[in-house]
Symmetry: C2
Subunit: 177 residues, 2 copies
């Protein structure tokens, strides 16, 4: 089966995701938020444990308070909403991996609905404060908040390394005959 038009449309869509950190004040309709959350719900996880919980934050003062915490989170200030990911804190490596999968899907689902997004990453002190702000118990792990909103401008073109620096056909890889 070679490439089809539909396959190409979807992979073009996947390639088009860029981080967006400046948002219009426009609200996001509730059915769109629900659809993004449903994509999140259908995310795969190690042994289908589905460890993630999501706190949806629309409240402007709370978004601004989160944006002021330690970490790479300043762009939350102008977001229409944030999806804050909460993990059980039982298996660090597996949970971080699943959190990456989940975050990617939330951003892709947002993009499907015309929304810009960017991952916000709390440092340890920021994470503690964010838990307190959102009433998340201390034994949970809170690392990321995905900001969502309509972009104020088109994303930049973006830069990626050339394929030969990603794919190690020659350097490592399978034995050659």
């Amino acid at each position: 089966m070679a490439q089809t038009d539909t396959a190409r449309q979807i992979t073009d869509f996947l390639k088009s995701l860029r981080a967006i950190r400046q948002y219009e004040p426009t609200l996001v309709p509730e059915d769109v938020v629900r659809d993004i959350l449903d994509v999140a719900r259908w995310s795969g996880s190690a042994s289908n444990q589905q460890p993630a919980e999501i706190v949806v934050v629309h409240d402007r003062p709370t978004l601004k308070a989160l944006a002021g915490l330690e970490g790479y989170v300043g762009h939350l200030a102008s977001a229409a909403l944030a999806m804050v990911v909460v993990m059980p804190g039982k298996w660090e490596e597996g949970e971080v991996f699943d959190e990456g999968r989940l975050s990617e899907r939330i951003m892709l689902a947002g993009l499907a609905h015309g929304l810009g997004s960017s991952i916000g990453w709390f440092d340890d002190t920021g994470s503690n404060e964010a838990r307190r702000l959102l009433n998340v118990p201390n034994d949970r792990r809170l690392r990321t908040a995905i900001a969502l909103g309509y972009a104020t401008a088109k994303p930049r073109r973006g830069r990626r390394k050339p394929p030969e620096r990603l794919v190690q056909w020659e350097r490592y890889g399978e034995p050659r005959g």
Copy 2:
């Protein structure tokens, strides 16, 4: 902006990803492999560092050898190919998160082309052996191998927890007026 048909098509696509662990012996065309790798190349990463390298393994004896290592990797034995992710091993938490994002995209790009996929996860001893097999230097981190191939059967329906166990509207979350 409410939901559009195109948005719905894409989010339906995102929701339809399931782990597939049994594959037909059919080969995957090279242009499809290249397109999946291009989606991988356009994956976002912390500070756009693009830390990942990918080793593409088509060789049947190598796939079988990888499948026999310690971890959750047995399904690599029947895969048409595997994409093995190699990270620099410099910032554990950030790299695992980026690896999750990348793995999700590889599986979605595969699905766009009609391929089934599943994450293979090496335990520590399996990881050491896999590095040796693939000539990956010891200072790199190798955790996952994404198996890809045409599915032998339709995926199962899948099970996910109900929305109210994912989204904590009430339990935590924003202050209410």
